[in-house]
């Protein structure tokens, strides 16, 4: 059971008591992600997530980490297309300390020139490590959206260009905080070994006096349908093998598309793994999923379904796309078999329970579901809602993909000798 309330300053609060665990979690979801960034400010939402860890009104730099870890806990933050989250999980005795830390930086983060320059350096090293200096860095989440969408919001690189990051000024940071980190633009989620009333009282005590501020206009992200197939190629000097990604725009009903992506490309029993890996050995690894990061229910509409494959140089992208088209046609005409549907539902149910067994994942899942969809049980309710998905619903989802347009992104290895 969950409890909701809204403070007078507009801050939304969600509490999910879980008695007996002796653990607690606190997260804050801000309704700003990299799709909110204006031109010239690519990567700013993520950079600002880093700046929220640089100290605040009553806590010097690094003190958030020391407070939470010194109470035996863990913390992190992450930036998504439509939101930015911060979380803390710790022994339940540390609950109030975590709330104090989150409230202090929602009230007044320590935005200084020195901290800004330091974190621009850190973020550049993060991008080198995760994108520039490794194989398949940023594949496909950075390069596929520009082929699927038109608007700046939907197509730009959420990690940001180095030029934009270097140009970010302190004034920009202050303006960004004022606009997007208002209490009315945020959701606090508390889960764990605490009574609901006691948790709400604690949130009131720590966040209640943060002044309300005007709310930002949400950047429009809806787009007209794709009218033609598109393709693109990127060169990768670190990749040992070619790869490709196929993206489709997704429409409702979403859950049938999640089932479809699992039928297609998750696990040894999926159609693409059987055909492309077991039967023909064209492909080394193939995966399908909803969301550009492979996480379903993580963005507002429009979302995408993505299939990625790392493949042998002996197979061409056309060969692989042809197999995918064939399987989608077959599913559109006949739907999945009863066995296929049963095992996919069992897989999704197991995966949901398994993810939800970890307190940090559970906390973030409740918060993101509530922020994006106004229902904290969007994801945890999946096993129940799967009962409403039959062969026909999956066939309809497959038909929608086949009748619309798609984008194909190829990764071409261009590394030197010795690979």
């Amino acid at each position: 059971m969950y409890h909701r309330t809204t403070l007078p300053n507009g801050l939304r609060v969600l509490v999910v008591p879980e008695r007996g665990t002796s653990l607690a979690g606190v997260s804050v979801h801000y309704d700003v992600g990299f799709r909110s960034e204006p031109e010239g400010y690519t990567g700013f939402a993520h950079l600002f997530e880093h700046l929220m860890f640089q100290g605040s009104a009553q806590l010097p730099k690094l003190e958030h980490s020391r407070q939470v870890q010194g109470a035996g806990g863990e913390f992190n933050g992450s930036t998504h297309p439509d939101y930015t989250d911060f979380h803390n999980v710790l022994p339940a005795s540390g609950l109030e300390r975590a709330l104090f830390c989150e409230a202090d930086r929602m009230r007044a983060p320590a935005l200084t020139q020195e901290n800004l320059l330091n974190q621009v350096d850190v973020v550049k090293e993060e991008i080198r490590r995760n994108v520039l200096n490794r194989p398949y860095g940023g594949f496909p989440w950075i390069h596929l959206p520009p082929l699927l969408f038109e608007s700046f919001a939907n197509t730009h690189n959420g990690y940001g260009d180095f030029r934009d990051l270097e140009r970010a000024g302190l004034d920009d940071c202050i303006a960004f905080f004022d606009a997007y980190y208002a209490p009315g633009n945020a959701l606090v989620t508390v889960i764990g070994d605490v009574e609901a009333e006691a948790a709400v009282d604690l949130v009131h005590r720590h966040f209640g006096d943060i002044p309300a501020r005007p709310l930002p206009q949400r950047v429009p992200v809806a787009e007209p349908p794709m009218i033609r197939n598109r393709q693109g190629t990127i060169e990768d000097r670190h990749a040992p093998m070619p790869a490709l990604a196929i993206g489709y725009r997704l429409a409702e009903p979403y859950l049938a598309s999640v089932v479809l992506s699992t039928v297609l490309g998750v696990g040894h029993t999926s159609r693409l793994v059987r055909r492309l890996i077991h039967d023909t050995a064209m492909v080394m690894d193939v995966n399908a999923g909803c969301g550009v990061f492979g996480r379903a229910y993580d963005t507002r509409d429009p979302d995408v379904l993505t299939i990625t494959a790392v493949h042998s140089a002996a197979a061409t992208a056309e060969d692989i796309v042809a197999v995918i088209d064939e399987e989608l046609d077959h599913l559109a005409d006949h739907g999945p078999s009863a066995d296929e549907l049963a095992l996919v539902k069992a897989r999704l149910t197991r995966q949901m329970h398994r993810d939800g067994d970890r307190i940090a994942a559970r906390l973030l899942c409740y918060g993101a579901s509530e922020l994006l969809f106004g229902d904290p049980e969007t994801v945890v309710g999946t096993p129940g809602r799967l009962r409403g998905i039959g062969e026909e619903e999956v066939a309809v989802a497959a038909k929608a993909l086949r009748s619309g347009s798609r984008a194909v992104l190829r990764v071409e290895p261009t590394g030197g000798k010795g690979r």
Binding site: V122, R134, P135, R237, P240, M284, H353
Partner: protein
């Protein structure tokens, strides 16, 4: 909880933890031998399409993971599918045939998989570091080269299975929504045909690591350096180990540590810097890992060395020890609060031959450590002059900066 050594020599551990309606499984099988043969075995033993369909229908999944020390079959299943999972596990252990056709396909795929792993800078750096420390010792090898994988034969894999995939010395751990006594009985019945006269594979003792200086290892077109340094520590059963555990945390074992404050938050050299307690066979090392842009390599190494010497020479700051201690105890509680986390943690402990009690009583031993003991252990083991390792990166650029291939 039920802990039983079966007549076949297999140790079975079943723990009730009904937080979600699942069961997590870890089967740890010590496996030392030719790295390429072991990788192909791991890929081929689960390759039957029928196996995966039967598993999927009971809401289960099974993956084989091979490294230089062991084969691990890891799985999870909807709780009422546990009997089915055990039956399928028995089929894999006693019925894998490694036909020529299956083997040819899995060999090809394994060769590609190894090429992908070897291209990952973090894995390449780990392999280079272990090679620097332990040379050709079988327990220290990284992913084998594609040519070695291509030479593996079906006969070799069958022999390796007969010799290594045996119950004696292996551990089956089941954690989740289960009845421990009934589960152990069900395991005994389901796996009764998994038997062998062999005692599993043995390995030669691991020598002390060779840590003289820092070697540059070239990686084409690298824009960052992977710095991997190490210092020999004391084993987990040594009385000084709890102090080493906390010294590692203060140095770089968590975000609130000195290396993070210095290299990341003060100097902006890196996104991530960590020190770890790295256990390989009977050896314990404190390892330090960070990735920095090529031009910052020397500065980053200099600061790491400075922090090592500072830890060994100066008293700890006011709250440093207590914070590290509370984190150590709290993070153990957090990481074992899920079925999968508990199963992985216990499998890791038991696999090294440590008593599970070692893990359960670790918080008490950490409580007893004093600040003086942390500084003493650092002075004895963690001074900069004991530190060595590798830098994986752009060798010409690094050499021109320092004029040699040794730093």
């Amino acid at each position: 909880m039920k802990d039983l050594l079966l007549e076949t020599g297999l140790r079975v551990l079943a723990i009730r933890r009904p937080s979600v309606p699942l069961v997590e499984m870890r089967l740890h099988i010590p496996l030392v031998g030719d790295a390429a043969q072991a990788r192909v075995l791991g890929a081929a033993m689960l390759s039957g399409a029928h196996l995966h369909k039967k598993l999927a229908l009971i809401g289960g999944e099974l993956v084989a993971d091979v490294d230089a020390e062991r084969l691990q079959l890891a799985g999870s299943v909807l709780a009422d599918g546990l009997p089915g999972l055990l039956v399928l596990l028995a089929e894999v252990l006693t019925g894998a045939t490694y036909s020529g056709e299956v083997l040819a396909k899995e060999r090809e795929r394994t060769a590609q998989h190894m090429a992908l792993l070897r291209a990952e800078p973090s894995l390449a750096a780990r392999a280079a570091f272990r090679r620097q420390c332990y040379g050709d010792h079988p327990s220290a090898q990284g992913p084998p080269e594609s040519g070695q994988v291509a030479a593996v034969t079906a006969e070799q894999v069958r022999l390796l299975h007969d010799r290594a995939v045996v119950p004696r010395g292996s551990l089956l751990l089941l954690v989740g929504d289960l009845d421990p006594s009934a589960t152990v009985e069900a395991v005994e019945l389901a796996l009764s045909d998994w038997r062998s006269d062999h005692g599993g594979t043995a390995r030669p003792p691991l020598p002390a690591p060779a840590l003289g200086g820092i070697t540059i290892v070239h990686r084409p077109e690298a824009t960052q350096s992977q710095i991997r340094l190490g210092l020999p520590g004391v084993a987990r059963t040594h009385p000084d180990h709890p102090a080493l555990h906390l010294a590692n945390l203060v140095l770089g074992g968590y975000f609130s540590s000195r290396l993070v404050a210095n290299l990341r938050e003060r100097n902006g050299y890196t996104y991530s810097v960590r020190s770890n307690l790295d256990f390989l066979c009977e050896r314990t090392m404190v390892t330090i890992e960070t990735d920095v842009v090529t031009e910052s390599t020397m500065d980053a190494i200099h600061e790491i060395r400075r922090e090592l010497d500072r830890l060994a020479a100066e008293p700890l700051a006011g709250d440093e020890l207590d914070a590290a201690r509370r984190y150590a105890i709290g993070s153990q509680l957090l990481s074992t609060s899920s079925q999968a986390g508990l199963a992985s943690a216990l499998a890791g402990i038991a696999a090294t031959g440590l008593d599970l009690d070692w893990f359960v009583t670790l918080p008490q031993r950490l409580e007893a450590v004093t600040a003086d003991q942390v500084v003493s252990i650092a002075a004895a083991h963690l001074t900069a002059d004991r530190c060595g390792g590798i830098v994986l990166g752009n060798a010409p650029a690094l050499a021109s900066e320092i004029g040699d291939d040794r730093l």
